[in-house]
């Protein structure tokens, strides 16, 4: 029986960020989804075909039928229903052949897409197109209200409106709305209009000769309006964004920021999608400093897109004019304390078993001195993917790369690296899977004169891996899962690299110093996977527990001089335990620690814990504890809850335990009204306290898919 596996879908909108595993999981308490019996509302297309086949049911006070003219005339609070579409009005004339309908007087047409109200409606039941005089349209999908003298539905999802208004606010006098001489709205598409006014309440606030808005429903891409705030570093801040939709596939946001301490900031974010896949976003922000402070700017360009001939070009570039740019202009942790800024341009193409990719990579160190920073301008790799040799158990692969390493001061040079490798897939007694691999890494160097000049060195590496897997399927009686499988995978790996002197080689990266290795690493992975049948009967799988234990035994370390009493041999590495526990969709516990058997008092070399709980209704808590001996002891906790609806609260606290330092406290309050949101952000961090108030219209999305604020916040 070839049941297609239940396609795992993100569970009720709960993004599992850690160790992402999209698994359809029944919320523990959720009763069997009550079958709502409501007719499944299909999208416009199919419902129109069904409309043609579906009977037309008429109820009225009077019904006249004229065969000659081929129409019916119903009068007296007439109700015509056909499948999901129902029409109410004082008088209706229907021609069953042509399916033309003319309704007059208190017309209300309700269908899966929305509700039309007006004085007079001429429409064709078959095509669903029609004209509404003096009426309004409510589009369910986007919660959009369109009103106007004349509304025509000219396409399946396209309405034109004369002297119309449009908003996503419910109610008679909406909090905001647009009016335009003529407006064309396509559901899930764009609203285009000429001579448009934007009203806040009843007050016209903005005029624009031409507007074009993406009309999307997702909440988080609301249209940013203005914002103001204060921060110790930036002083008073007033930011007025102006959103301009250039075309269907391009839009831009201009920012004008007045920062009392730092000067006038001018920014542009330009988003584009060309053809199907060439998408990207470019950002430029320039601050003309005040009081003698120099100008500063930041440029960013993210792009992913195919070129003719199967080549793919990507850019993930960022450049800032001064090292302290982000300290002043970064807003969230990870932005304002960035330690480096990378720019990567790549061009690549893949054939069946070969990948050719080149990259230009430039990193700017924001903390240390930049002259020593090593750049790869370019690095080109040609890799032959691991592939079977005929029907044998042997496979081969080849990695080859040519890199030009550059830095302002210090050794520059080229490196050609080749690593062919041969491996085999054997099975021992049909129990153990054995995979030996032997490779040879050859490196050739040409360096600048202050380097060693031409150098060459190659060395072997050998590794073999033995693994197997045993599992058992339990049929637990009481639990809500039908079957639970526990699988254990022992895995032993032996690695050997001969000891070769490579001191005369230039040291660009770790491939120039392949250190000797004679090591056994062994591990055990336990998985507990539950299975039950999803709503449509197809099986749904969920991994409740993943537990990996691993350790290494260094033979080189164990054979060091036996006679030297002070020589503490430490062949055993620390025991690493990784555990991911997911009792249900909303809860996660991720534990990752290294335990040192012979490390005296401080047994743990690292101890990391991440816990998260989300109830799927907007409440949640996430806490992460990081510990690395003598390096880091740090806590990052986030709290989200919506108990005081319509106010949604998001609180984040970051704390350095090693030196008892408050690093950051940030409180985000969102007052979410029906069609707009007001955000208040309070932040107290190292060297800056700030607050920010932002106003946003809901339902008007932006074109761009690659989101992120200036600097691509995390």
């Amino acid at each position: 029986e070839t049941a297609t596996k239940g396609k795992p879908s993100p569970v009720d909108g709960v993004p599992v960020a850690v160790a992402e595993q999209d698994a359809a999981v029944p919320a523990v308490a959720q009763p069997k989804a009550a079958n709502r019996g409501k007719q499944a509302v299909r999208d416009g297309k199919t419902s129109l075909e069904e409309l043609q086949r579906r009977p037309v049911d008429i109820a009225a006070d009077r019904l006249e039928q004229d065969e000659q003219a081929g129409w019916y005339r119903a009068e007296g609070n007439v109700r015509v229903t056909s499948g999901p579409v129902s029409l109410l009005s004082d008088r209706v004339r229907v021609n069953p052949e042509t399916e033309d309908v003319l309704a007059e007087g208190h017309v209300v047409l309700e269908g899966p897409e929305g509700i039309l109200r007006g004085d007079r409606l001429a429409m064709n039941l078959g095509t669903g197109l029609g004209r509404l005089d003096g009426g309004s349209v409510f589009l369910r999908e986007n919660n959009f209200h369109i009103a106007g003298d004349l509304i025509e539905k000219i396409g399946e999802k396209t309405y034109t409106v004369r002297r119309g208004t449009f908003t996503s606010c419910d109610g008679i006098d909406p909090d905001w709305h647009f009016s335009a001489r003529d407006l064309k709205v396509t559901v899930d598409g764009y609203a285009r209009g000429r001579h448009a006014f934007f009203y806040l309440g009843g007050l016209p606030v903005l005029y624009t000769p031409y507007i074009l808005f993406p009309v999307k429903r997702e909440r988080e891409t609301g249209l940013l309006m203005s914002s103001f705030g204060y921060s110790q570093r930036r002083g008073t801040q007033i930011s007025v964004p102006f959103y301009w939709a250039i075309a269907r596939n391009q839009d831009a946001t201009f920012y004008l920021d007045w920062l009392s301490e730092l000067g006038l900031g001018k920014g542009i974010e330009y988003r584009y999608i060309f053809g199907q896949e060439n998408a990207g976003e470019a950002r430029y922000y320039h601050v003309s400093g005040t009081g003698g402070a120099g100008d500063r700017y930041a440029v960013e360009w993210d792009h992913v897109g195919p070129l003719p001939g199967g080549w793919i070009f990507t850019s993930d570039s960022e450049y800032v004019s001064s090292r302290d740019y982000w300290q002043d202009f970064g807003e969230v942790a990870g932005e304002y304390n960035k330690d480096k800024v990378d720019s990567t341009l790549t061009l690549g193409k893949g054939w069946r078993r070969i990948n050719l990719t080149g990259q230009l990579r430039y990193s700017k160190d924001l903390q240390g001195d930049n002259d020593q920073t090593l750049q790869r301008l370019p690095e080109v790799r040609l890799d032959v993917l691991r592939q079977r040799i005929g029907q044998t158990a042997y496979s081969w692969e080849l990695e080859s790369s040519a890199t030009y390493f550059w830095r302002r001061e210090g050794i520059k040079g080229e490196r050609l690296l080749l690593r062919p490798a041969l491996s085999a897939d054997w099975s021992l007694w049909d129990v153990f899977e054995i995979q030996p691999t032997i490779g040879y890494t050859e490196r050739l160097y040409w360096t600048s004169n202050d380097g060693p000049g031409y150098e060459e060195k190659g060395l072997f590496d050998f590794s073999t891996r033995v693994s197997t897997r045993i599992s058992r399927v339990y049929q637990p009686v009481d639990m809500r899962v039908e079957r639970l499988r526990h699988s254990i995978e022992p895995d032993i790996r032996y690695e050997f690299v001969p000891n070769r002197d490579q001191s005369q080689l230039p040291e660009f990266d770790v491939r120039d110093r392949i250190d000797a290795r004679n090591r056994i690493s062994y591990g055990l992975v336990n998985r507990f996977v539950g299975r039950w049948s999803g709503e449509d009967g197809s099986p749904v799988y969920h991994e409740f527990l993943y537990l990996r234990l691993s350790q290494e035994y260094d033979i080189r370390e164990s054979r060091r001089s036996l006679l030297d009493p002070t020589d503490e041999k430490r062949p055993f590495s620390s025991l690493r335990t990784e555990m991911i526990l997911r009792p249900n969709a909303g809860t996660l516990l991720d534990l990752d620690f290294r335990y040192d058997p012979d490390a005296g008092r401080q047994r743990f070399s690292t101890f990391n814990l991440l816990g998260r709980y989300r109830d799927g209704r907007g409440n949640g808590i996430k806490a992460e504890y990081r510990y690395a001996r003598n390096q880091v002891e740090y806590v990052d906790a986030t709290l989200e809850f919506d108990l005081f609806r319509p106010v949604y609260l998001d609180y984040r606290h970051r704390y350095d335990l090693r030196d008892d330092e408050e690093l950051e406290k940030a409180l985000d309050l969102e007052y979410r009204s029906q069609c707009w949101s007001l955000f208040l952000t309070l932040r107290d961090r190292e060297g800056d306290r700030s607050f920010m108030v932002t106003f946003e219209l809901a339902g008007l999305g932006r074109v761009g898919s690659i989101g992120g604020s200036l600097g691509g916040g995390n």
Binding site: T2, I312, K340, R388, S471, P539, Y541, D656, N714
Partner: protein
Amino acid sequence: CGYRLAGQGTSLPGGVKSLYIASFANKTAEPFLDTAISNALSRRFNRSRNLRVVAEENQAEAVLSGAVVGYSSRPLSYDRQDRVREYRSKMKVEGRLTSVSDGRILWQGSVGWQEDYAASDNLALQEDRERAAVEVLVERLADELYYRLMDDF
């Protein structure tokens, strides 16, 4: 004790026994991830005893194809001056198993994993650590993809 060698009873969706692994694409702006994940998948799937990985698409009952759809490496923890001490690399891979005979999708899903590494004042060393983290990521993702496919119990 009821624990049996994996192989009896578990199989790919649709009872598929022979498989061709197409080379995975890289839909991110981070270079070389396509080679890394394709090689890791080849190592993982070829190791399996109860599965025949073939070299040519036409000899297989099903094709496993997919792409790296997300990669990020972002600051994770900080010291007393709020300077970055550790980074977290995250990768997400989407995979799809399609039957060769009728093109039906036998399985489709995505797997994600993360690995952390220490920051360093020496950027070159920090990038070496990131590359080491990527090597662990592709290996774990190959395992995850393998087990999600072999989940058919």
